[in-house]
């Protein structure tokens, strides 16, 4: 059985075209991952390699946050380990969230803003089909963006690991994050935007609203630096499970709100 019928595939293709032709969305979808997955890790790696660790403010404090598995690392290796395992994971929640919410804003709110949603609703496609095609299209686009970002990130970090003679960075935390939490967050970003789209009058307004869901994620990772808790594989697994349940509930709720009367309000 095909996941999408031919008419639904046409909607996905059309949405990809619309997203790509919207300059701001295109820039966000390219620049944010490039900065987070490539530019910042390279910058950090260069800093670690060329700036003596005793000149970095708070380096000693940060060392105290290191888990047991990094006990034998020297100062440079420790700093790189901290960056790879405590800062960068946050980027891989922000990249899927940003790309999914921005593409969904363009696909759902943008369609409403440009008054094209009515035309789409008048086609022989059912409202359910339109919803499915749009949601899956945004998820697919966001998944591709995240996957490419991760491959680029993995190359940069692997080069860093080789230079600093460290073991390969991928651990259980990363696997759970990339394979479970990031996809769950992607779905969350899209479905949340569908909910917001009913109330948002403009694409920009909906993007601003999506900012509220980025905040808890940042707090989750910043919290580690306070020493309150450390993100373990188990905790991430639990977080992924919570987000999957939230996705399911929001999907049900959003699909019920996705009616012609509400969309044309």
């Amino acid at each position: 059985m095909k996941l999408l019928t031919l008419p639904e595939q046409a909607v996905v293709k059309k949405d990809f075209g619309e997203i790509w032709s919207t300059k701001m969305v295109r820039n966000t979808m390219i620049l944010v991952p490039v900065i987070m997955a490539v530019f910042l890790p390279i910058l950090y790696l260069v800093l670690i390699c060329f700036v003596p660790s005793n000149q970095i403010n708070g380096a000693d404090q940060m060392m105290k946050l290191l888990p047991k598995e990094a006990a034998g690392f020297n100062a440079q290796q420790s700093m790189f380990y901290l960056m790879t395992n405590m800062i960068c994971p946050m980027f891989f929640l922000m990249i899927p969230l940003m790309s999914s919410s921005v593409s969904a804003a363009c696909s759902f709110v943008g369609e409403k803003e440009r008054s094209t949603i009515e035309t789409l609703l008048l086609t022989p496609l059912s409202v359910k089909s339109i919803f499915k095609a749009k949601v899956l299209g945004c998820i697919l686009l966001s998944a591709i963006t995240t996957a490419i970002s991760f491959v680029a990130f993995a190359i940069v970090i692997s080069v860093g690991d080789i230079i600093l003679q460290m073991p390969f960075f991928l651990n259980w935390n990363w696997l759970i994050l990339v394979l479970l939490l990031a996809p769950a967050i992607t779905v969350f970003g899209v479905v949340f935007m569908v909910l917001v789209s009913g109330r948002s009058k403009s694409y920009m307004e909906s993007i601003q609203t999506s900012g509220y869901i980025v905040l808890p994620l940042i707090l989750l990772f910043v919290g580690q630096f306070t020493g309150l808790f450390q993100l373990s594989a188990l905790l991430l697994l639990f977080a992924a499970a919570v987000v999957v349940v939230a996705d399911f509930l929001l999907w049900l709720f959003a699909s019920r709100l996705f009616t012609p009367e509400k969309l044309l309000k």
């Binding site: 008419p7 919207t22 440009r114 086609t123």
Partner: protein
Amino acid sequence: MLLAAIHMENLTKSYDGKIIALNRLNLDIPQGGIFGFLGPNGAGKTTTVKLLTGLLKPTEGVCTVFDMSPQEKPCDVHRICGVMTETARMYGQMTGRQNLQFFAQTAGMDGPESDQRADELLKSLDLWDARDRKLSEYSTGMTQRLSLARSLVHRPGVLFLDEPTSGLDPESAQTVNAMILSLARNTGVTVFLCTHQLRYAQDLCDGYGILEKGNLLAAGDLPTLCKNIGCRIRAEFRLAPGQSPEGLQKAGEWWRTEVRDEDEMPGLVRKLIDSGHDLYEARLVKPTLEDVYFEYTERREVSK
């Protein structure tokens, strides 16, 4: 008996529970021909189209299109309906051809079939030369024509057109009207035309419905509407200055009287000549749709 293409029974819509946008509308529109749904802005014409196409749910009553409820089977209704409204826009970043291909694909056509249908419509609506231009670069007239093409892309049996000539210059409006007329006459499509441009409506439509503030004031063909409201044909005469014939009323340079039908005209002419009047010109003036429309709306105001 022929199945009514569009059926409305006590169709009522209120958006907020207080103001009634459409009040107990009862109307049956037969298959084929063009039905003009007339009324000023805010009369409830667009609401009716949205109810008939399943975009809105009625507060009360039912409606069907070819015996299918747009609320229960919106996809089936959309499969046989083409809809062109002022608020249903197309994709500005896509070319005219891409837009039509996309909408053909949403109707289930595959790649080659959608290409063929898009090209066919672009040629017939005189948009072939602009096919590869982005829609955002189209003029209003071209956009309207493309919207008409979009509504026809899946070869519908019923066409809902909401102010199709709104914002067009007279030449473009005439072109669009000619297309609508040719469609109805040559393909047997039933056209539900919402407009407040009465002159165009009279040229195009076979039947009319007059809507005001959500209430249907009258429905039928022009002779029926005239008969029901008492609008009659007028016999008008231009006579030599200073002459005042008996039983005729003066209206500018002309003297006039109402007649039941045109058979009365020869008798009136003969009478005027026999009574020694110098007759320069004589004419029969049939009530226009505009006359009938205003007669209905004014009478409603008076009855209020």
